[in-house]
């Protein structure tokens, strides 16, 4: 018997947070609930986090995905977050953004290294499936380093 074998079905870990100035968290709370119900472990924070704090959180909690909720114009700061994650040696972490993002800015975010932008009306299944996929990518990328 091999009682110590673990099949690699450890739960996915996701950080759900908000940076910038806006505080509305109705959406991010619902997303956190979706992910939990899909078996993921969600580190959920208050809004108004500094980017440097988010990087430290992501590192300490060893998350695979960082989800930023942005309902005002705070998404404009996300490229800086992506940059700081890379600088901290955390380039394997996938960053996703959910909220009110104008279409041409979505392109800019993706170019800056954001993996996925979710708009209002995205379905629960879509969000869960994509986050799971991105988490697997992150784990593979982490093992390869």
């Amino acid at each position: 018997m091999n009682a110590n074998a673990h099949s690699g079905n450890s739960p996915i870990k996701v950080l759900v947070t908000k940076i910038g100035l806006d505080g509305h968290d109705r959406g991010s709370r619902i997303i956190a609930a979706y992910l939990r119900d899909a078996g993921m472990e969600v580190v959920y924070t208050a809004p108004w986090q500094e980017i440097s704090t988010v990087v430290k959180l992501a590192m300490e909690e060893d998350v695979q995905v960082v989800g930023i909720s942005s309902l005002a114009t705070d998404h404009r700061l996300v490229p800086k977050l992506v940059e700081q994650l890379r600088a901290a040696g955390l380039e394997h972490i996938r960053v996703v953004v959910g909220g009110t993002i104008p279409p041409d800015e979505e392109t800019l975010l993706l170019q800056a290294g954001v993996s996925r932008v979710f708009h209002p009306g995205s379905s629960r299944d879509e969000i869960v499936t994509d986050v799971q996929k991105l988490a697997k990518e992150a784990l593979q990328a982490q093992s390869a380093t």
């Binding site: 018997m1 110590n4 939990r36 924070t45 440097s52 040696g89």
Partner: protein, 314 residues
């Protein structure tokens, strides 16, 4: 396997105090990967430096705010700190919202404070089975103080007691039967009782109730202090830190004077966890036979367990 996260160099960086290595090591240990065993072995000989402090108590007493204030005080005293925050998992989906660590806000950006959330992962009412191991990894990484924070739900207080040197049970006035919720058994385990939110009107009464309940303890146990705190203003925190220090030095805590006893406990818990997993998940026909015999009343539970151990041995 791979190079930089290969256990040996990871272990070197872990023992040197590198935060990224600590985070990675915790994940490997928590997820019980093959690499975990190497890490735990390497860590064993480095244990015993850190003071391990457990905080437990019902939801709503302000545990996280209290931990927050205590961490701030420790930093002011020049200590490096590791914090493990255990949150419950859904028994159905095994997912979890880990929302407590964020309340430890004051030192959120401090590189000498390392905070990690653990989901209970199906261990309903208890700690994550990995909690003790994660605490050890933080100890080996060189933290002066490692704090374990968990919701008091009966089982977890006992498990905290096996891990922590100093056990703090937190309550607060005005929670209805808040004091009753501190079951008599917990009082046997606690080293310090804290009444948080001491600015509330009932605080004095709560403290007195606790002192009366303490008189029911066995007299040979070390005395327990009852301390009022107000986590949001910082009142009583310095006194708490002093009391924790004093309790630690007087050495009544878990396995402090006997690392071997601690190791035996770790062995017992690991064995129990492993056996439990195997019994519940295995498809081995001998399992079925034993279970059926137990169900029919042909074997008693103890007998069945002994037979099981023989089966596992093969």
């Amino acid at each position: 396997m791979n190079t930089t996260s290969q256990p040996s160099s990871l272990i070197e960086r872990l023992l040197a105090g590198d935060s990224a290595a600590l985070a990675r090591a915790i994940s490997l240990v928590e997820n019980e990967t093959p690499a975990a065993q190497d890490i735990l072995k390497a860590v064993q000989s480095k244990l015993g430096r850190a003071m391990l402090v457990g905080f437990t108590g019902s939801p709503g007493v302000g545990k996280s705010s209290l931990v927050n204030a205590y961490v701030r005080e420790l930093r002011a005293r020049g200590k490096t700190v590791g914090v493990v925050v255990v949150d419950p998992s859904s028994p159905f989906t095994r997912g979890a919202i880990l929302g407590d660590r964020i309340r430890i806000t004051d030192c959120a950006a401090d590189p000498d404070v390392f905070i990690r959330s653990l989901a209970a992962r199906g261990n309903v009412g208890g700690l994550s089975p990995a909690a003790a191991r994660v605490v050890d990894v933080m100890d080996a990484a060189g933290k002066d103080v490692v704090i374990l924070e968990t919701v008091g739900a009966g089982q977890s207080e006992v498990e905290v007691a096996e891990v922590a040197h100093v056990k703090i049970v937190v309550s607060a006035p005005g929670l209805g039967d808040g004091v009753q919720a501190i079951k008599a058994g917990i009082l046997e385990i606690a080293d310090i009782l804290v009444v948080n939110k001491a600015d509330l009107p009932d605080a004095d009464r709560t403290q007195n109730q606790l002192r009366r309940m303490l008189k029911l303890r066995r007299s040979e146990l070390a005395p327990v202090s009852v301390l009022p705190t107000c986590a949001t203003t910082g009142e009583g925190i310095s006194a708490l830190a002093d009391a924790v220090e004093a309790s630690f030095k007087s050495g009544s805590g878990a396995g402090r004077t006997d690392p071997l006893l601690r190791a035996r406990r770790v062995l017992a818990n690991s064995a129990a966890a492993a056996a439990k997993r195997w019994v519940l998940e295995s498809n081995d026909p001998r399992m079925t036979t034993l279970s059926e015999a137990l169900q029919r009343g042909e074997l008693g539970a103890d007998e069945a367990a002994r037979s099981l151990l023989e089966v596992i041995h093969d």
